[in-house]
Symmetry: C2
Subunit: 350 residues, 2 copies
Amino acid sequence: MIMDDRKKRILQAIIDDYIDKAEPIGSRTIARKYELGLSSATIRNEMADLEEMGYLAQPHTSAGRVPSDKGYRLYVDKLMPARDLNHEEIRELKSATETRVYELSQLLKQATAVLSGFTKYTSMAVTPRMRNSTIKAIQIVPIEPGKALVIVVNNAGIVKNSLIKFAEQANSEMLGRITNLLNDKLAGLTFEQADIEQIKTLGREIGVSGEILAPILEGTADCIYQMGDHEMYVEGSTNILNHPEYKDMDKARQFLSMLDEKTSICRALSGSAQPFGITVRIGSENDLSSIRDCSLVTVSYNVSDTMAGTIGIIGPTRMEYSKVISSIRYMKKLVSDEIDRLLGREPDSV
Amino acid sequence: MIMDDRKKRILQAIIDDYIDKAEPIGSRTIARKYELGLSSATIRNEMADLEEMGYLAQPHTSAGRVPSDKGYRLYVDKLMPARDLNHEEIRELKSATETRVYELSQLLKQATAVLSGFTKYTSMAVTPRMRNSTIKAIQIVPIEPGKALVIVVNNAGIVKNSLIKFAEQANSEMLGRITNLLNDKLAGLTFEQADIEQIKTLGREIGVSGEILAPILEGTADCIYQMGDHEMYVEGSTNILNHPEYKDMDKARQFLSMLDEKTSICRALSGSAQPFGITVRIGSENDLSSIRDCSLVTVSYNVSDTMAGTIGIIGPTRMEYSKVISSIRYMKKLVSDEIDRLLGREPDSV
DNA sequence: TGTTAGCACTCTGTGTTGGCGAGTGCTAAT
DNA sequence: ATTAGCACTCGCCAACACAGAGTGCTAACA
């Protein structure tokens, strides 16, 4: 059987309608509502063909048709109407980067909040995994007697800090010596590559007690750990409850507990990462079995040339793909520009 | 009508049973299950009395009885069986403070996660509101050319920092002068009391351009803002879906969207704060109308002598009060000890 | 040969009905 | 004061009928 233009038009009409109404569509409805110049009987025949080809499914005999994952796939790839954001919508999305942020985490929180509010689906984001980032600089700042802040900057310009406590007094001259030692020995390395024993030995040689050095190394490790850890933001998780496919309590609970599990979201988001452009995973295309009846639209953003995080929108497979895709595309641009600003590069210089 | 001992025993039996079963209790059930030495008819009469007195309610004629808010109140105040945590349970709660934390936020995240897992209700926590904390010290640390970290310590020993960017070069000698100026002028004050214009003038006098000073002041303000802001953690929000009173979708949605609103939770938690001990707000005792059919158990923890945050557990009014109360009491102790450790005072010295 | 009108058939959702069971309140006996 | 007995109430559930939407097939038509 061949997929001619008429079939495509009919399929598009069915999916458009289903995305809007969430109810199986009958041939009569299509014939009446969309001006295809065809009778319901003809459409009926075509629908039977489309079902045979796997683009449509029938919940039961004598019900209307519903798009299958394969149908959505064709829709997203070829049939979907282009959707340009109007001024009003652009203004709404832009609000995500209007209040000035100081940190990536804040930026992502606002971006996901705006995206979920705008699309009425659930929005998520993860920070880049910087497992193999290298240490650029370390600073130790005394805060008050017995307390200091260890500050680590990595090669992406990300700054993390950790508050440490000394059991005994450490004067600033000694902290200076330790700072130099650490920068000498750690700069350019990942923390895994660092030889902690060597540093302890060298520390003793320049007269630094283990009591002082240990918490500093621990604080450094904590900073590195913070950098290596995914941070994750989810907004609008309850939006899913507004969609009729989740009126069933058990399905809703399953979805929400999936969102509570940090690891599953990370897997879902990172798994579908693609260097550029937008990825759409429809239903069974998702690796994660618990979201087999959801669609996940993701895009990755760059923090430095080597590290990328991901933003995603998840909703029922019956999703307003065109709206979701255009809004996530625009949000990626907003976030990328803002990151460039945060990290000190001007957007136009990139 | 007088509330004699027998009535109390019956009321307790009804509430115990209802907490367990979530279904209206009939007189026959009580007579059979609890050995009160009374026939169902007698209990029936007593139940009618208890309803008239407002401790019980009847969903409809010929249904069993259900405790009212007033009934729960008496139960919590007088009838509730004491509940001691066993070793296993203590071990589970203790796991909240076993992985070493560096920050209050981490500590609260773990505490709420463990509490919600243990009780199967929703657990929340807010950090203290430090609106009127005063500035103890400010440091400016150059990170790389054009970037620096502003660090502010307040009188409670809480450290916040903010990454800033300079439009022009700032040498470390100049940053030192600014640091001294800021400490001179701001130490001991709240940020509202600070005279920013005066600082700008003084800055110009010692040869610091506005281009340099402005981001520093902005970074300082950001730190103060972070301190003044409530941070809030919610864990186990989907636990509510496991309780039959929330099998109705709309109620569940309402509950979950309440949790999404930061402000409402803050209001709920802070509103019920009481300097010491545990507060139980049952159903209509809550100010917030959206949780009129929930009970909220809160306890506050001290960060310094003047500042306190709150931990809470929220669930249906049909809640295992004794378990919730004993576990939140124990968690308060764990969190308090851990905060003392974090802020450098040893638990035993307090 | 593709399109359409007509028709019998299928299946779900909804409203109705009737019996069952749990529980109550009241009365009279203990 | 307590209890046995009884009539009554009301929600729950299964059975049933039925309307409505939609299908597939056949035959007629352009």
